[in-house]
Structures are given as C-alpha cells and as structure tokens.
C-alpha cells in the first residue's frame, strides 16, 4: 500500500468502525423484529434501551445505575492499583535478578493461568465476604500478568543501551534509573493494558462473592430471573466501561511514553 492510501485508510478507520457497529445494531434490531429469536434469547435493542432508560430513573434493585458502574469501576481500579504497586517492582526485580526469578517463577507460572473462580471458596475463608475479597480476586488475576510483563520488559533492554550506560561510567543504580527503567516503560504499559483486560474479565467472578451491586452482580442476578434484557444491558455496560478504561490506559501511554513504537 502506498503511504497516501495508508493515510487515507487511517482517516477512514473510525468511520468504518462506526459503520460496522451501526450495521451490527441494525442486524440485531432486524433479527429481533423478524423474530429470528424470541425476546427471551435475544432482547430487541429497543427493549434493552427501555430497560436502560427505566434504570436510569429508578436504578436496579434500589441502586442507581451509575452507582453499579462506579462500584465495579472502583473495585477494579483499587485492584489494578494494588497489582501495579506490587507487580511492577516485583516483575522488574525478577527481570533483573535471575536468582529471584528462579525463586518466584514457579509460583507465578502456577498461579497465572489458574481459573480465578476456583479461588472463590478460599478467598471467602481468607478474606470474608466484604470488599476486600472482591478486590483481591481481581487483584490476583491482574497481578501475575503484570509481573510477567514487567519481568520481560526489564529483560528486554537493548544491549547497545547498556553499553552506552557503561561507556558513560554509570553506576548500577544509575543504570537502573537512567536506562533500564525508562527502556522498560513502553513494554510495561503494553503488558499493563493486557493485564487490565484480564482483570476486568474477573469482575463477574469477583461480584459473585456476596455482592449486592456492581455491573457483574447485575448480570448474575438478572440471569437468576431470566432478565436477559438486563443481562444484555449489563454486558454492554461492562464492555463499554472496559473499552473506555483501555482507551484511558492508551491515552496515558501516549502521554508518558510518546516514543513507544517510534524509535
């Protein structure tokens, strides 16, 4: 492709995306209108919209809709913050110290792919049924991806840059602060983005633990009563919030590491 046509498709990109979403909604609308599936299985967009409007007025189960969103977001952000504070230093340390890496790697590799649903009974025993157990579930599912990403980032600093550091007589501490950490930042951002995605998917599992609000709980509770319209609304809210969260991370990445991918 020529650069001109690349530029043109970059400009068209958002328009194409909007059109594709619009086409999907139209298909959904038509599928429901023509009765391809019952409203139980596939609630019409109008029905979901009605439910959304009604909930904007009355809330769901006596909790305003925005509060469900805010509570889930709060839980996720608290867990993400904890995962970053713990995971980035630990991951970097593992990436820089082969010994530490050998000590911790078996645990990280064991825990990372573990389905977090399996932890629910243990988490209740350890932390009870309050907020801490919900946040903890999201935290653990985020943490290991952050650790693995940060470790890989620390290990991926270019040899040339380290030579440069040594040529300038940088001490070990200077090598870390002036070269290794900033070099690892773009990759850390990328892995954090992925980790947040993983953590966000744990929201439903987390809100299975004695919750009475939150988007994940909304979906679970509504499914108990076959309220597929609310389930659909909850899924849409989860998706849109997750997407906005991702956009925020990308925005932050652009602001903090504008050189990512441009060297």
């Amino acid at each position: 492709m020529s650069t001109a046509s690349v530029a043109r498709s970059a400009r068209l990109g958002p328009l194409i995306s909007i059109a594709s979403v619009a086409a999907f909604v139209l298909l959904w609308y038509e599928a429901a209108r023509l009765g391809w599936a019952s409203s139980l299985i596939l609630p019409a967009p109008g029905e979901v919209l009605d439910t959304a409007l009604q909930m904007l007025n009355d809330g769901y189960r006596h909790v305003p809709l925005w509060q469900h969103v805010a509570i889930s977001l709060g839980r996720a952000l608290a867990a993400f913050a904890a995962a970053l504070v713990v995971g980035i230093p630990l991951g970097l340390a593992m990436g820089l110290s082969p010994i530490l890496s050998s000590i911790l790697d078996p645990f990280v590799q064991f825990l990372r792919p573990l389905p977090k649903l399996a932890l629910i009974p243990l988490v209740i025993v350890w932390l009870g049924i309050g907020e801490s157990s919900k946040i903890f579930l999201i935290f653990v599912s985020t943490l290991f991806s952050v650790i693995v990403g940060a470790a890989a980032a620390a290990g991926s600093v270019k040899v040339g840059r380290l030579r440069l550091a040594r040529a300038f007589g940088a001490t070990r501490r200077q090598q870390l602060w002036y070269f290794v950490l900033p070099s690892a930042l773009p990759e850390i951002f990328t892995s954090v983005r992925l980790a947040f995605g993983v953590g966000w998917t744990t929201l439903i599992a987390a809100e299975m633990v004695a919750a009475d609000s939150g988007m994940g709980w909304m979906v679970i509770n509504a499914s108990s009563y076959m309220r597929t319209d609310i389930v659909m609304l909850g899924i849409l809210l989860l998706g849109v919030t997750g997407y906005l969260l991702d956009l925020a991370v990308v925005g932050l990445q652009r602001a903090v590491v504008p050189w990512a991918g441009r060297e």
Binding site: R161, L164, R166, A167, F168, G169, Y178, F179, P182, R262
Partner: protein
C-alpha cells in the same frame, strides 16, 4: 608524540576456548596509536575491527595480550573514552539537549556548566535550534549529530567510533564526515574510527590500518599524507585519487600474499 592507545599481542577468542576451540577473532594483534592522531581501522565485516574497538572501550577483556591507554591496562569502560556507535542510541525519553547532557548528568556536573557545555556542542553540530525536540522526531543524520555532541561534551582524551555513519545515505555521510573533521580540528582528540569504506578512511584518517579476517590481524598500516584541513573538494582531487589507488593496490597485494598459500592448499 606519546602513545595514547596500545594493543600488545592481543588475542581474542569467543566461545569454548578449550583445546584450541572457539572462534579466534584476533590473533597477536598489535597496534599503537599516538596522541592526537586520527586512526581509521579499515576492513571487511567480521574481520574483528569491532572487537578491537570493544577492547579499547573496555566492554571486553582480551583472552591474551594487553590493551593499554596511557600505558595503563584497560580494566573496563570509563569516561576517559567517548563512544559513538553505529546506531545513535539516543534515549527517547530525553529531548535533544538532555541527551547531550547525559554524560555530565551521570558524572554529577553542576547543571549550569552542563547546560553551557551542551549548548556549545549543539552549536558545533548545528543543532542549536533543536534543543527541545524529541529525539525520535529527528532524521537519522541529526540523531547521529546528537550522538556526536553527547560523546564530545565530556571532552574525553580518546574517542572511539564504531562505523558511526554506516547507516546514513551517501550525502548525509559526507556532511557528517566534514562536521566530524571540523570539530576534531578544534579539539585534536585521539580518535579510533572503525569503517569498511576506503573513501571514508582516507578522507578522515592520519593513518589507515587495514585488517584481514579470521583471525583478525593488521594487514597494512598506511600513513595518509593528504593536507589538513580537509574538505569535500579533496575527494575529487588527483592527490586523493592517487592515495586511494595506492591504498587499493596495496590491499590487493597484501590480500593475495596472505591468502595465496591457502589457494595453494586447494581451498
């Protein structure tokens, strides 16, 4: 003039060295570089010329023999030797002037002094208008100018350059070569400059040391008697053409002599 850099019977072997194994990058490599001299190390890729540079820089330790700077054995990298690599290796999280100030920052210079010195070298390299630019927004040639200023700011007595203009287009390369000579005329630093380009070596150097490959050793040591200061015009002068012809002829003769017996062995 006193000897600044000396390689004495240096052997460098990579990989498993037991029982004569491993790759012999250098064997009995000896070279002396006088103070304030501009020496170009010329050779094909893989001849060990980068190894020579890395030994001088202190990135590697020789398997045998010794590398001396001012008569003292090199034990590791140090601020007395400035480095310019083939890649500019600018730190993208630092803008242009911050990149130039990297060395002073690490050495703990007072900020005012570092800034003044950085501005001086940015002026010398023609980058004064790009002080606050992001390094990744610059062209390849400009990036290498920043790298040049960054290496020079601490005014190290030795400058080690590893094919710094190898990745640039011919036009930019010429501009950079002239710039390098211009600054060097003012500072007269001892320079060890690695290249595989005969024109570049003759244009820049007081001496051109030609290396042969596997194992790397000195094939030819030529004095370049072109007058200084040198500029672009010299490249098209009969004297330059003469020097180049002589150099290529000698390289050819030496190569035939070095490899002739191998052909005789039926290889």
């Amino acid at each position: 003039m006193s000897v600044k850099i000396a390689f004495e019977e240096v052997t460098q072997v990579y990989g498993d060295t037991g029982k004569g194994g491993g790759t012999r990058a250098l064997e009995h490599f000896s070279l002396e570089i006088a103070e304030r001299n501009f020496v170009c190390l010329l050779g094909p890729s893989g001849c060990g010329k980068s190894t020579v540079l890395n030994l001088a820089a202190g990135f590697e330790k020789p398997s045998g023999g010794s590398v001396l700077i001012d008569g003292k054995t090199v034990t590791g990298p140090g601020r007395d030797r400035g480095m310019v690599f083939q890649e500019p290796l600018l730190l993208p999280w630092r803008n242009v002037i911050e990149n130039v100030m990297l060395g002073p920052c690490l050495a703990g210079w007072p900020k005012v002094e570092a800034l003044a010195q950085a501005r001086h070298y940015l002026r010398l390299t023609g980058l004064e208008r790009f002080e606050r630019h992001a390094s990744y927004e610059l062209s390849g040639g400009m990036r290498q100018r920043v790298a040049l200023a960054r290496a020079w700011i601490g005014e190290p007595p030795v400058l080690l350059m590893d094919e710094p203009f190898g990745a640039l287009d011919a036009q930019t390369r010429l501009v950079m070569q002239e710039l390098l000579l211009e600054i060097w005329e003012q500072t007269r630093t001892t320079v060890l400059f690695v290249t595989h380009d005969v024109d570049e070596a003759l244009f820049l150097g007081d001496r051109v040391v030609v290396m042969s490959a596997s194992p790397g050793r000195v094939l030819l040591d030529l004095a370049v008697d072109l007058p200084r200061p040198r500029t672009e015009e010299i490249l098209t002068s009969p004297r330059f053409a003469d020097a180049k012809r002589r150099c290529l002829r000698l390289i050819g003769e030496e190569s035939r002599r070095a490899f002739g017996h191998l052909e005789g062995d039926g290889i």
